[in-house]
Amino acid sequence: MSVSLTAPLLRATTSTFEELALLFAFPDDALAAAPVHASAAVHFDGPSAGRLALGVSAPVLPAIATNMLGADAAPDAALQRDALGELANVVCGNVVPSLADAAAVFRLRAPESAAGDAAMQAGAGETMVGEVRLTLDEGSAIARLFVRDVGSP
């Protein structure tokens, strides 16, 4: 794991949870592998290519959408997935500049949702370069940053 990328990943993830989802997040490296109920990934390319994956435990998924919408009750499953994907998108957009100089331009693709922790595992040709584990009031979250190895499709 790259220490230099863990710090910007932590900043991006905590600020995104706190400002957009109104969920206070605390880093917890010792957090046991809490079951990931849902996950989302955002692929990026540019000077580097890879993927940001964000997974949350079961109570966190509806809390994100509920807080973002200011709703009294949890919105439907599609909106819950959309909200998690948007958080992944924002985290990704804020952390990828750390992979290159300020002039670099990255292109982010639309978020992809996955059941369980399907988005959290390294794929072929991917290397994890940062990971943060967070404790939230409602549960837990994990963010992982993968870069695609040079020459990988």
Binding site: S15, L20, G70, A83, E86, G93, P97, L108, R109, A110
Partner: protein, 142 residues
């Protein structure tokens, strides 16, 4: 004057969050339209009178930068007020966007940051946020 606003973002939740912030900002609102990408935004602008656009950058079909370029190339929309709401962090891309005379709100944003930018761009200064929140039936607290 009531402002007709177009919110452009591929995330339905983010559009709803922005619309919610608009409704409690105190800005007098007319019609609030939504679009999920730049192409939908251009189609909406062609059909409706729009006073303000809140525009994401990274979107499928047509991204916000292309949408903005097309807006500025059309004399009818060359001076349309635009607030870019995006995660974009590239200095080069930010410079390119700002060259189109837009305001920029970085995601993640605090609601009051978006509200203040909306008020600055619209020139609305005599607002009562509390009344606006009450009118919107919203308990969101700035």
């Amino acid at each position: 004057m009531a402002f007709n606003v177009l919110v452009v973002d591929d995330s339905a939740v983010m559009r709803a969050m922005i619309v919610r912030t608009l409704r409690i900002s105190g800005v007098p609102l007319g019609t609030v339209l939504e679009a999920a990408d730049g192409a939908q935004a251009l189609a909406a602008i062609a059909e409706h009178w729009i006073d303000l656009v809140l525009l994401d950058v990274n979107m499928p079909v047509m991204d916000g930068q292309e949408c903005l370029t097309r807006l500025r190339a059309d004399p009818a929309t060359a001076s349309l007020p635009v607030i870019v709401v995006s995660t974009e962090g590239s200095a080069a891309r930010l410079d390119a966007l700002r060259a189109h005379d837009v305001a920029f709100v970085h995601k993640p944003f605090a609601p009051e940051t978006l509200r203040d930018t909306i008020l600055r761009i619209t020139g609305v200064s005599d607002v009562c946020v509390t009344d606006g929140a009450a009118a919107a039936g919203d308990d969101f607290d700035f």
